[in-house]
Symmetry: C2
Subunit: 471 residues, 2 copies
C-alpha cells in the first residue's frame, strides 16, 4: 500500500457535491487511487472553482447550489446505478442525498450528516431534534427502509471516520499490553473487549497547531477546514455518548427519549462547552465538546446489553483544540452571541507551520490512559499530495479509503465507520497520516485540581464526566 | 499641559522598585515631567537592566530583590523624609512598603496592592484573605494608623487608577446629556449623582488588540504587561463591587464578613470567569472578570448610605479582553490547571499594530450605556515616548500624574484614586492617551440572547450581573 497504489478501479461516474476545503483536497486522491479519469467526474459547487484546481485537473464543475427543489432533477441527470455520489458540502441534507442514492442504486459517502440550511440552529425545533443523535437516528431509519441498498458510508472523514478505526486499533493495543487475549470480530465482541479492558471514557482528542502567515483579523473566522460547518456543529447542542459508569447526570443534560439511547445532549452549544483532555505532544489542554457523529456511533457500537439492560458503555466525546486562530475566532463568535463573523478564511498554501494531532484517548483501563492517532505536519502533507493541509488530508484519505471499500463491497446498504473492516481502511490511510503514535500516560482529569480553589470533584473515580468538564 | 510641561519640580531622591514593563516605561516620563536629574534616581531590580535603558538614561540600578528581611535596611540607605518611593514591582508587599514610607516621611505611589511571593494563591489562607478586598482593607487600616502621614497613592495606574477619573468624567457627561445639573465635590455628592442618574453597573471595559511580529509559541505566555502579575491576579478570586440593584446572589459568590462590604468575591479564579461587555471599537465581547482594586474602591466610593443602610451602590467590575496572544496564553494556562508556562514575553518594540481601548462603561441610566476612555494605538505611543507600548503608557503617565499631585500635596496620607482631584490628574494624562472617546450605545447583555438555546436570564432588568455572566 503506497501513494501510487490503485485502491480500487472504479468504472462509473462520480458526482462530488461541494468543492471547499475537503472537496479540493480529495480530488487529487480520487484521481490517484481510484483509477477514474477526470472526465468521469462532475463537481456541483455554487462558489465555482476559486483556485482553478478543477480546471487544472480537467474536472467539470456545475456552478449550482443543490436545494430541496432541484436536487433530484439535477442528480438524475448525472448519476445512475453503479455511479458514486461524494457529498462534501454543507447546507445540503445528507439524508436527502442518501435516500436518493438508495433509490437509484448509487454508491454514497459523506463525512458528516448535514441538514438543509439553518438545520443546526432552527429555533422552531427542540435541541434534541437538531442534534447529531436525531440525524443519525434518521439515517438508521433509512437503513431499515432499504435493508439491501447500495453501499452508503456515512460520517467517514477523520472524525467522524478514522477515529472509529483508531479506537479498535487502540483496544487491541491495550489488550496486548494488559495480557488480554482478544480477536474480536462482531460488534458484540468489540463491546465485550472494551468492557473487559475497563475502558470507561473515550475522547477524540485533537490538537491542531497549524499557523497561517496572516493573522486572524477582527471580524474574521479562521479555521483549517470549513468555517461554516464548524460554526454549524458548534451551535448544535454539545453531545456525548453516555457511559454506564457515570453517576452524575449533568444538570443541563437531557436524554432524547427515542432511539438507541447511547448518547445525551447538553442544553448549550458545544462551542461554549469545554472539557479537559490530553494528547502526547500538547499534554493537558482544554478542548471544545463539539457534537460529532462518532460520539454517538462509537458509544452505541461498544454497548454491551444483557436483555433490555445496558451492562456496559463507555462515555465518548470530542475534545477539540482547533488551531489558535480558530480558538480566537470562537472567542470572538461567542462574544457576539454566535452571530457569524462577516469574513472567513481557510488557510492552506499560506500555512507556515504546525500539525494536526488527532487521535483517540481511551481511559480507565489497566494502563490508565492510551492515546492512539495521527501526528501529521503541514510539511509532510505537502510532500504527500497537493491541495491539502494536515487537517484536510486526514479527512480526504479516509474518504478515498471508504470509497475504495464501497467499490469493492457495493451492496452493503447504509454503514457507519464502526461497521467497516478497520484493518483494510487503516492500511489505505496509513501512508498519508504522518506518524501513527500510540502513547500511554498517567494523566487524569484530577491532576493538579482543587487548586487554587476547592472544586466540586468526584475523587473516587477520576473518569467521571464531571471531572472532565470545565465549569 | 503638553509633552514638554513640567508637572511638578521634585527636589528629592526617587527609588523605583521593579524595572519591568511599567518601570521601564515610566522612567522617561519621570525625567521629562518631574524635573529630576537622573542621578537622583535609584532602581532596585533583581533582573538588572535587560534593555540597557537605565544605563542609557544614566540611572543607577541596584541588582537586588527586596524581601521581608532586607527591605527596611535597603530602603533606609536610600530614602529619607521628602523622598519618593515608586513601587512598580510584583512579589513585593505594597503594604510593607507603604508602612515603611508612612513611618519615614517618604512619598509613595504604586499601581497595584501586591503581596509577598505566593500571596495570590496561598492555599493556607481562605480565598477572602487572598482577595484584593482584603489587601485594600489592610491599606485602609494602615491609613487609620497614620491619619496625617505623607502622601501615599495606592492603585494609581490605568486600571486601577485612571478609570476612577474616567468614571467621574462619564458621570458628568451623562448628567449633562440627561439634563441633570450637577457639581459634585464630596464623595457623598458623587455617590448621590450616580444614584440620581440611575447608574446600575460600571465595567472597566478594555479591549487590547496589540499584536507582536512573533507568534505565541506553545509553552509561552505573551502579554502586553506583566505576565507574572497578570497570572497572579488572574488566580485570585474574581471580585466585583456588588450593586444595590442586584437580586440574584451568585451561587459561587460570598461576602467577606468584615470591612466596607462594598464587594463580593466568587470562589473561582478571575481568569476562569467571563462576562459580556462592550467597547466602541470592538462592540460586544467576552472579557475576563479579573479582580482589580477599582472594582472595590469605585463601588465603595459611590455608595449612598442612609444611617446603617446602603441605599445605593453600583456593581463594578473588570471585563478584560487582553491582546489575542494573551487570550491564547490564558487558554493554555487554564488547560494546564494554572501551572504557569515556562517562558513568557512582553512585546514592545516588536509590536506591529493594534491599540489599547480602555475605558469605563456606565450602564442603566437614562441614556442606556455610555463608554468613556482612551483609544491609544501603538503608533501614537511611539510618537509620544520611548520604552512603552500602548498598555504601559496608559499606566505610566498616570503614575507620573499621581507623583506630581503627591509632590504638590505631600501630607495627604494614604489615598485611593477616587480621592484625588480627577480634573488635575486627567489634564496631566490627556496628552498621552490618544483619542479620548465618549460613546453612547443601546447595547445590553440581553442583546441576541436566548439563541440558539434558552438561557436563564432576568428579562425584567438587563443590568443584573447574572445577565452579564458567561456560564
Ligand atoms: N468527518 C470529518 O473529519 C470532517 C472534517 C472536515 C469537514 N467535514 C465535513 O465535510 C464537509 C465539507 O467540509 P469543507 O471543509 O470542505 O467545507 P467548506 O466550507 O470548505 O466547503 C463546503 C462547500 O460546500 C458548498 N456548498 C454549500 N451549499 C451548497 C449547496 N447547496 N450545493 C452544493 N454545494 C454547496 C460550499 O459552497 C462550499 O464550497 C462538511 O460537511 C464538513 O462538516 C468532515
Ligand atoms: N494599575 C495598572 O493599570 C497596572 C497596569 C500594569 C501593571 N500594573 C502593576 O504594576 C506592577 C509592575 O508591572 P509590570 O508590567 O512592570 O511587571 P513586570 O513583570 O514587567 O515587572 C515587574 C518587575 O518587578 C521585579 N521584581 C520582582 N520581584 C522583585 C523584588 N523582590 N524586588 C524588586 N523587584 C522585583 C521583576 O524582576 C520585574 O522586572 C505590577 O504590580 C502590576 O500589577 C498595574
Amino acid at each position: 500500500m503506497g501513494v501510487s497504489t490503485t485502491y480500487a478501479a472504479f468504472p462509473g461516474r462520480i458526482v462530488m457535491v461541494g468543492f471547499g476545503s475537503i472537496g479540493q483536497g480529495v480530488l487529487p486522491l480520487i484521481l490517484r487511487h481510484l483509477a477514474v479519469p477526470a472526465e468521469r467526474i462532475t463537481i456541483i459547487e455554487p462558489r465555482n472553482d476559486p483556485t482553478g484546481e478543477a480546471h487544472a485537473l480537467g474536472v467539470k464543475l456545475l456552478s449550482l447550489a443543490l436545494t430541496p427543489d432541484n436536487y433530484v432533477a439535477t442528480l438524475d441527470g448525472l448519476l445512475g446505478p453503479g455511479d458514486f455520489l461524494v457529498n462534501v458540502s454543507f447546507d445540503v441534507s445528507s439524508l436527502a442525498l442518501i435516500e436518493f442514492c438508495q433509490q437509484r442504486g448509487v454508491l454514497y459517502v459523506d463525512t458528516c450528516i448535514e441538514p438543509w440550511p439553518g438545520g443546526h440552529t432552527d429555533p422552531g425545533v427542540s435541541p434534541s431534534e437538531r442534534s447529531n443523535y436525531a440525524f443519525r437516528e434518521a439515517a438508521l431509519a433509512l437503513r431499515r427502509a432499504h435493508p439491501k441498498g447500495p453501499t452508503a458510508i456515512v460520517n467517514h472523514g477523520a472524525n467522524p471516520g478514522l477515529v472509529s478505526h483508531f479506537t479498535k486499533r487502540a483496544l487491541l493495543d491495550i489488550a496486548q499490553a494488559t495480557g488480554v487475549n482478544a480477536q474480536p470480530e462482531s460488534r458484540e465482541e468489540w463491546a465485550r473487549l472494551a468492557m473487559q479492558l475497563g475502558v470507561k471514557v473515550i475522547h477524540v482528542a485533537e490538537r491542531d497547531t497549524q499557523l497561517a502567515a496572516e493573522r486572524k483579523l477582527p471580524g474574521e473566522f479562521v479555521n483549517t477546514w470549513s468555517v461554516e460547518a464548524f460554526v454549524g456543529e458548534g451551535c448544535q447542542p454539545a453531545e456525548l455518548g453516555w457511559g454506564s459508569h457515570e453517576r452524575h447526570f449533568p444538570a443541563d443534560g437531557a436524554r432524547h427519549g427515542y432511539g438507541c439511547d447511547a448518547a445525551i445532549y447538553l442544553n448549550r452549544p458545544g462551542a461554549a462547552t469545554r472539557v479537559r483532555s490530553w494528547t502526547p505532544l500538547e499534554g493537558p489542554y482544554h478542548g471544545f465538546l463539539i457534537t460529532h457523529g462518532e460520539s454517538i456511533s462509537i458509544a452505541d457500537f461498544l454497548t454491551v446489553r444483557e436483555g433490555d439492560q445496558v451492562r456496559y458503555r463507555p462515555t465518548v466525546h470530542y475534545a477539540y483544540h482547533p488551531c489558535d486562530a480558530a480558538v480566537l475566532s470562537l472567542h470572538e463568535l461567542a462574544g457576539k452571541n454566535w452571530q457569524l463573523q462577516p469574513r472567513w478564511r481557510i488557510p492552506r498554501e499560506d500555512l507556515i507551520g504546525g500539525r494536526d494531532e488527532l487521535g483517540v484517548l481511551l481511559m480507565g483501563h489497566g494502563r490508565g490512559a492510551y492515546w492512539y492517532g495521527s501526528q501529521l505536519s503541514i510539511e509532510e502533507t505537502r510532500r504527500l499530495v497537493p491541495y491539502n493541509n494536515a487537517t484536510s488530508l486526514q479527512v480526504t484519505i479516509s474518504i478515498v479509503a471508504a470509497m475504495a471499500w464501497a467499490i469493492r463491497h457495493p451492496e452493503q446498504g447504509i454503514r457507519e465507520p464502526d461497521e467497516l473492516d478497520f484493518r483494510a481502511i487503516l492500511a489505505m490511510c496509513e501512508p498519508y497520516l504522518g506518524k501513527l503514535a500510540g502513547v500511554y500516560t498517567d494523566w487524569t482529569p484530577l491532576q493538579n485540581r482543587n487548586w487554587p480553589f476547592p472544586e466540586d470533584l468526584d475523587l473516587d473515580d477520576p473518569w467521571q464526566f464531571k471531572n472532565f468538564r470545565v465549569t
